[in-house]
């Protein structure tokens, strides 16, 4: 144990916390009992290993991935709730060691059970029709497990950063884990679809035909590495380093290049249609990310005061160091959208986008420009309301209120008022004509910005009075 303590104290601590002789015996005992049961119940079957294969796959998902997701997020939340996190922040453990110690250490018991399942899965794969594909699936499961655990730690870190030190966070408050769980589970379950029919299916990326399973494995590994990079950066923040958001920008660039490969025709490296399609995708993704990050990041007044002061004194390095990710993602969305607009207006030769635009009843160039402007103005309106809620006297539930507002504006009200022709007040709707399309969001965003400026002036006045 001393050697582990020397190598990574966080890992050693987690081994103490998570592993006991009783637990070490229970896990294999239960799993082997299941295998024994499978063999007993399927004694007449031709291939009971096929059932074991099936069982070990689900065992890995349940013990390794799902239970592991809970263990990994709990590891951070427990530190916050039990007030031990500040000890960690003051330790000399580096961000990388701390991240790995948490990632592997907090889920060490899940790894223990998952590896038993994994061993069974890989061994039983030899009894299946496509053992090679099954082996690859085995590695895919491991990559997904690491990636999801890392993601849960990232979410938990984000949550404790914006929560008062004396406020306990209930582990079930990471409702996102449920959403993620559902999404990821479905993608893992699609393994069976792949297994059945399309495991041999190929897709083209940068003109290269790659079997879909291989590509899935490659994608999982690459994005897991990005999650680990994000985890490292997040741990650095916890250890009081102040870093500019350059890695986030690198990720978005990487993401653009990665997606570009899907739309590139064979034998070409530059293609305007592929660029405009990828930029459109990036535009939509960065808009969604802006909302997601704005809802999850810290938005306290002190941060904005610091940002405004650094801008006033032209101290741009300080501004760049402290700028929240959502505030840096929004301009990227705007730029991506603007470039798409430019490419469509000048070249006008993207069949995929033309079809999509037609679906939205956008037929002329002026409508296209209007739609783009309306989208951006509605984003300004929504983010302005989010800030107004956060700057209010009771900001505790601001982000939850905003979520409710978003559901109301973009889901419930449009459904209730469909056919009344008032949807253009809520979101970009070209069917009402170009003037309402731009006019309504312009008025709404100006109103929100006006109230935001008034609120800021009021806060600044009160602050000066109290100082």
């Amino acid at each position: 144990m001393k050697n582990i303590l020397k190598f990574n104290p966080e890992l050693a601590k987690n081994i103490w916390l998570e592993l006991s002789l009783q637990r070490l015996i229970t896990m294999p005992a239960i799993l082997l009992l299941f295998v024994f049961l499978i063999f007993s119940l399927n004694s007449g079957e031709e291939n009971p290993w096929a059932t074991v294969h099936y069982f070990s796959f689900y065992g890995f998902i349940f013990i390794g991935i799902l239970w592991g997701m809970k263990s990994s997020s709990d590891a951070i939340l427990d530190e916050h709730n039990e007030k031990t996190w500040d000890w960690q922040k003051m330790s000399s453990i580096g961000p990388w060691k701390l991240a790995i110690g948490k990632l592997i250490g907090s889920t060490i018991y899940n790894w223990y059970g998952a590896l038993i399942c994994w061993g069974l899965f890989m061994y039983s794969a030899t009894y299946t029709n496509q053992p090679k594909a099954e082996f690859k699936t085995g590695f895919l499961l491991v990559a997904i497990m690491v990636g999801l655990h890392g993601l849960m730690i990232l979410i938990a870190l984000q949550l404790i950063r914006r929560t008062n030190a004396n406020t306990k966070i209930k582990s079930n408050r990471i409702f996102l884990s449920g959403i993620l769980f559902a999404g990821i589970l479905s993608s893992i379950f699609s393994y069976f679809t792949l297994l059945g029919s399309s495991k041999m299916m190929q897709l083209t990326w940068y003109g290269i035909a790659i079997p879909s399973l291989d590509f899935l494995l490659f994608t999982s590994v690459v994005y897991t590495l990005w999650i680990l990079a994000g985890l490292y950066r997040s741990m650095r923040t916890e250890l009081q380093f102040t870093d500019p958001p350059s890695w986030w920008l690198f990720f978005l660039i990487f993401h653009f290049i990665f997606q570009y490969g899907f739309f590139l025709p064979e034998g070409k490296m530059v293609d305007l249609s592929a660029i405009s399609t990828t930029l459109t995708l990036l535009f939509v993704e960065t808009i969604l990310l802006t909302y997601l990050l704005a809802l999850s990041e810290n938005k306290d007044i002190v941060l904005f005061r610091k940002l405004i002061n650094s801008l006033k004194s032209s101290d741009f390095p300080t501004f760049y160091k402290y700028v929240p990710l959502w505030l840096i993602t929004l301009p990227i969305a705007k730029i991506a959208g603007f470039l798409v607009l430019l490419l469509l207006l000048i070249f006008d030769e993207n069949p995929i986008l033309k079809t999509i635009l037609k679906d939205y009843s956008i037929t002329s160039k002026i409508e296209l420009v209007g739609f783009y402007l309306a989208m951006l103005l509605y984003v300004v309106r929504d983010l302005g309301i989010l800030l107004l809620l956060n700057f209010s006297n009771r900001p505790q539930r601001a982000d939850t209120s905003m979520l409710v507002y978003l559901v109301l504006i973009y889901l419930i009200l449009p459904t209730l008022t469909s056919g009344l022709g008032i949807s253009v007040i809520l979101y970009p709707d070209i069917t009402q004509g170009i003037i309402p399309l731009i006019g309504f969001p312009l008025v709404e965003s100006i109103a929100v910005v006006y109230f935001l400026v008034k609120k800021w002036q009021e806060i600044s006045f009160n602050y000066q009075q109290n100082s």
Binding site: P9, W16, T84, S91, S92, Q240
Partner: protein, 312 residues
Amino acid sequence: MMIIVSNVTFDYPEKRALNQVSFQIEPGSITALVGPNGSGKTTLLRSIAALSKPISGEIMVNGYDTLLQPREVHSQIGFLQDLFGLYDTLTVYQCLSFMAYSRITDKDEVESAIENAIEQVGIARFLHKKVGILSRGMRQRVGIAAAIVHRPTILLLDEPASGLDPEARYELSNLMVNLAENGMTIIVSSHILAELADYSTHMLVLQDGNVVEHKKLKSNPISRAFVYLEIGAEHDLAPLLDKIKLFRGVTEILSVDKKLHIKLDTLISSKHQFLKDLISENISVNDFSEVKINLQDEYIKTVSQYKLNKSK
């Protein structure tokens, strides 16, 4: 100077917690950080510990900037917070081992550092008990051991005596003195001013995020008090004073008639020696007592003056 705080301002969304705070802390001193709830004590301690970032100003800890070199600052500081947590399912020894290995970079030093912390804090007898079953006093000791296990030069304690019984408080006081004797610079925030008076060399008063007073109470934590002495009427004062000045440990004498206030350089050994010298010189003593600094009075006086100035 061990800690230099210059023009530090710290804001919370709803209020300013520290307003242009400046002061310096001498090495080897014990500073009583006092002030009402919400005066900014915890924020100040967290800023010194490089756990919270002020919006302006600079804090230098043993030559390291808390904003630019937080990791170096962490290596210099042991910090026990008001509501600190420990890993309840670990044993005391496991808990200390984890803290030591995670804080000490030279891994060959770790075992001796753990032994040292155990000895200093006096927790050897419950090393193999689970942290979760310890009493509040014992838990506090383990917390202090965890805070000092990496042999920091500075120890910050936020309300360390709250919730402790009188015996545990007494032990904590002695521990403070022992740590200071070993050269540690200590800042203690507490509401229990009588206890702070026992060992504090300085008093730093915070009110509404401002430093209202920062004064020296005595030159070192061990010379905790003056001795009050009333000598018999039969003695001539002048020759007697000359004689007492030569006693071991006596550093200063103030006299009003035959009532003397004598400052000793160390409390326990000097007081004992001083009494022995009085008897051996056949000096008749009508009254003898230890004079304690009344921190409560000092604090009330300072705060009243601040409020008066503010109202003007």
